[in-house]
Amino acid sequence: MSLLGFCQWLAATRPSIALHESLYMYPLVESVHVLTLCLFVGMSVLLDLRLLGITLRRIPASDVIARLVPWMTVGFIVMLTTGLLLFYAIPVRSYQNIFFRLKMIMLVLAGVNAWVFHTHVHKRVFIWDMDPKPPGAARMAGAASLILWAVIVVSGRMIAYNWFDCDMQPQPRFVNWAAGCVVGQK
């Protein structure tokens, strides 16, 4: 089964239809998704700014990481759960949405960035723990995280707009390619 076929199958399941057509459940899930930005992205921004040496400079970097990451983890779990539900409610349109695809790619890159930071830079945190301005590699990780999450938030918001939807033809060839539109088919 292709990914598109899988999304079409998902869309036909009863809970997906129920969530899609619900009067309050869908907006509620979406509100939780959006407001949890404050916890997850808000804490990430503070951590990234510490890595860049912009704020919380008197606090050891390891302390900022150890104290904020548990909260970020809680936020991420809520974001992921509500995000999966939002996708489940509207699978086909999301899958063929150019901003959704951009968001997914950026999420993978943000994951890679966090993994590289954790396995390389963070391992030697004891060397630069008290530095108000951490070394280049840590600042790079902080800057990359800030940019990636900003793109993720903005592209996430843009999913709601139908400018490049597959049923809004004609679209430029690039859009049809990037969104995986099956042109000629409804």
């Binding site: 907006p27 979406e30 509100s31 959006v34 407001l35 930005l37 404050c38 916890l39 992205v41 808000g42 804490m43 990430s44 921004v45 503070l46 700014l49 704020t55 919380l56 400079r57 008197r58 606090i59 302390d63 900022v64 104290r67 904020l68 909260w71 999450w149 900003a150 938030v153 903005v154 918001r157 843009m158 707009y161 400018w163």
Partner: protein
Amino acid sequence: MLQTFQAIELSTIGQAIKTSSWAFAVIESVHLLALAVIGGAVLLVDLRMLGFGLRQQSVRDLARDAEPILIGSLMVMLVTGVALFASEAVKCYYSTPFWVKMTSLLLAIIFTFTVRRRVTRAEATLSRPIVYKLVALVSLTLWFGVGASGRWIGFSG
């Protein structure tokens, strides 16, 4: 009041945003980015006052670090928020969530820059934990009200 709102929507800025196909989306995205940042700045200090997060730091030090971030992101929220409002002022006039948001926002700003600021700036020895906890809970409740009702403006009407 309604006439004022109509005039705002008919203003050059209001019409420019309303008729553009992308301006609202772009301004809203910036509004959303600033939401994440202001949320972080508020939560950092409020969680600390509740005894969570960066517990080894004093409330005073954390609040001092968070304040420029809080004020900066609040400015971005206000500017982008006014622009969004200008493009749909009449819809806002008839929107209950909009009025709930404006009331919560006014209260949140007043509380943050009076009571909360005074308590977070006091010497730690002068502030009792129960005062911190109360201030944090009121702050979180008010800002949550702003965020939740703000999101609900888009669902209603």
